[in-house]
């Protein structure tokens, strides 16, 4: 789960990580009030959960009251990578001496939490990792003992030569680590970490992602979820305990298992079609779950054909078949359905569906091809 910059900064504050003076605003008058409180010049930052806000014109320094109004009006409501800006952050201007990068992630390879730092700030760390990996300093936390103070100092001493600043940075690294661990984050990033002209460190931008598996024990974090910046279908799917991701194609896919669901999308594409979604109905799928899946799928108006790819194991094909039948009745499905149901109780499924007007396929390749053919015919 992602949260906005302003939310991440609230958490930073709670953990004692220094952030600029700033206010979150929902409309122009709030922006103007915030600007006069914080002082002009000030920074106006679009709050959308994508990178590249600066390049897209979503971050501006307003030097006059007029500019506050101008940029405020401009940024509020603009679209960045398809996302509408509904909130902006009005922030003090920080006198930047140097910019650095400080981030924490779980290193999947070493199975440890790693603190990454880079003397260049504002960078896309994955790009640096690819092109100039030695510019990144990695300091690992012990899997059990956490980030030892001496390792935090190592982070600080890598970024700054002045001991006072280095140890202030070490303290920030320790706090960021504490936040990361206590909140089950999957990413916590200060980018850039700014050393200002007075010699103080300050987190100019903030990004925190959370491990979905850990959210159950952090209702306060779950409550930060911005439902308006998420896809409606994806929200609905999560509520119904289904995994769904919207794509831009027109062949709706219903699959059991995440790997097979991805492979199904890939196969559709392989044969020249365009998948409309990723959808995993999970292991022991009841007819009701199949109903729910179809209901979500059909909310996407781009879907023009539905492709069921079920490899029965724990999932029983007859359960899926019953779900399809029930859904057809209840939901008035107009789109043709291509069904490939194999494995546990596939014969029963065929019996159930034989009168249902489906297009059957005996392999996933055949299913994908038929779905594409049908589409051309429709």
């Amino acid at each position: 789960m992602k949260i906005h910059e302003y939310q991440a900064k609230e958490l930073f504050k709670k953990y004692g990580i220094p952030v600029p003076e700033e206010r979150i605003c929902h409309n122009l008058s709030e922006i103007q009030a915030a600007a006069s409180e914080i002082g002009i010049p000030c920074v106006i930052k679009a709050q959308v959960m994508v990178g590249g806000r600066g390049k897209a014109g979503g971050i501006k320094i307003a030097k006059t009251e007029d500019e506050v109004k101008e940029y405020g009006e401009m940024i509020l409501g603009m679209k960045i990578k398809g996302l509408e800006v509904k909130k902006v952050l009005v922030s003090e201007v920080v006198a930047i001496e140097t910019e650095a990068y400080l981030g924490i992630v779980v290193d999947r390879t070493h199975k440890k939490v790693v603190v990454m730092s880079c003397k260049e700030g504002g960078v896309e760390i994955e790009e640096v990792a690819r092109q100039n990996p030695e510019a990144i300093n990695k300091v690992y936390a012990d899997p059990v003992f956490g980030l030892f103070p001496h390792r935090a100092r190592k982070v600080g001493l890598f970024l700054y030569s002045e001991p006072k600043v280095a140890f202030a940075c070490a303290s920030i690294a320790e706090k960021l680590y504490k936040l990361f661990i206590e909140l089950d984050a999957s990413l916590a990033e200060i980018n850039p970490l700014v050393l200002d002209k007075s010699g103080n460190l300050i987190a100019l931008d903030a990004k925190i992602n959370f491990d979905d598996n850990g959210l159950y024990r952090h209702p306060d974090i779950e409550a930060m979820r911005d439902r308006f910046s998420e896809d409606e279908n994806e929200l609905l799917a999560r509520e119904k305990d289904l995994s769904y991701v919207r794509l831009s194609g027109n062949i709706g896919c219903v699959v059991n298992g995440a790997g097979l669901a991805m492979a199904t999308m890939d196969l559709v594409k392989h044969y020249g079609g365009e998948p409309a979604n990723f959808l995993d109905i999970g292991g022991s799928s009841s007819p009701q779950k199949v109903m729910n899946a179809l209901e979500i799928l059909l909310k996407d108006e781009n879907v023009r054909v539905i492709f069921f790819n079920i490899f029965g194991g724990i999932t029983r094909c007859d359960d899926v078949a019953n779900g399809i039948l029930a859904a057809k009745e209840k939901l008035d499905i107009k789109q043709p359905i291509v069904a490939r149901l194999t494995g546990t109780n596939e014969d029963k499924a065929m019996d159930i569906l034989k009168e249902a007007g489906l297009i059957f396929a005996s392999s996933m390749d055949e299913g994908a091809k038929k779905a594409i053919e049908v589409l051309k015919g429709v």
Binding site: G51, R108, K112, Y216, V245, A258, G259, A263
Partner: protein
């Protein structure tokens, strides 16, 4: 031969009295797995499908000499169940349960460091050595004893590929679902090291997906020292960035962990990558015959 599980596997099922635990205990027994004990705290003394249930894994191991555990308990209790299994001295723990926070897996990894115990999973279908033993939820009937080792981050996709392999007339030595989470107990390389030592295994199939760089690390390892033929498949070529595709570990972070880079890494290590699940089986068939 085979790796990890075989006729000597003596299995304890943690969470045996639950819906999934009970169902799959029956399935594993039917397959011929020696399920010797079950554990549900507070239910000690009952039996499930003829398998005696104990209050603790320690007791189960003491009474039945179980050497392998499979875990079917809800996410909130799964972490504790893993520690209990390790603590009781079983040599192999297979965690089917999903939903374990990544940071708990980091800690479990720390606990395992000086233990003589291997963890498979979590969030995995388990593993099977066809004709010998099945530990987990894989549908036994699609497997056939043979010489192909299979390692996969996925469940049903594995069945799809195995089904194709079996239909192509080939069998499997051992098939391992290593799990779809970002931090897992046993990775591709760990399994390959075992397959390298297993005379029965003549070739290996790696079923990867987007997210992380386990496939890339594995490709390096294979270049360096793995001698048997390897085949590959990567799911998620059409997956968008920064979206979790079902599995907690199946996510492209920014521009890293894409299917393209994984396929490239595989190909650089002379791994034959199938475009579709069916093609994987064809490639194996062509190469091995």
């Amino acid at each position: 031969m085979s790796i990890l599980v075989n006729k000597d596997t003596k299995l304890v099922v943690q969470g045996i009295t639950g819906r999934d635990g009970s169902f799959h205990t029956e399935q594993m027994l039917k397959y011929g797995t020696r399920v010797v004990a079950g554990v549900t705290p507070g239910k000690g003394g009952v039996s499930v499908h003829g398998v005696p249930v104990f209050n603790t894994v320690e007791e189960a191991v003491a009474e039945t000499q179980a050497n392998t555990s499979v875990i079917f308990v809800p996410a909130k209790f799964a972490v504790g169940a893993v520690y209990e299994a390790i603590d009781a001295g079983v040599k192999l723990v297979v965690c089917i349960s999903e939903g374990i926070p990544a940071l708990e897996m980091v800690k479990i990894t720390g606990y395992l460091k000086d233990k003589n115990c291997r963890l498979i999973g979590p969030n995995c279908p388990g593993l099977i050595s066809p004709g010998e033993a099945k530990v987990g939820i894989l549908p036994g009937h699609i497997f056939k004893p043979g010489n192909i080792g299979v390692i996969s981050r996925s469940g049903t996709l594995t069945y799809e590929i195995v089904d194709n392999i079996t239909r192509a007339g080939l069998g499997q030595s051992t098939c391992i679902g290593i799990g779809g989470d970002s931090i897992i107990g046993t990775k591709f390389i760990d399994c390959l090291e075992l397959f390298a030592q297993d005379p029965q295994t003549e070739a290996v199939v790696l079923v990867g997906e987007i997210g992380g760089r386990d496939e890339q690390d594995t490709a390096e390892y294979i270049k360096r020292e793995f001698k048997k033929p390897v085949f590959g498949f990567i799911a998620g070529k059409t997956a968008p960035a920064d979206k979790r595709m079902g599995h907690a570990g199946a996510i492209i972070s920014g521009t890293s962990g894409t299917a393209a880079e994984k396929i490239k890494a595989f190909e650089s290590a002379d791994i034959k990558v199938g475009e579709t699940p069916a093609e994987v089986a064809r490639l194996i068939k062509e190469t091995l015959s």
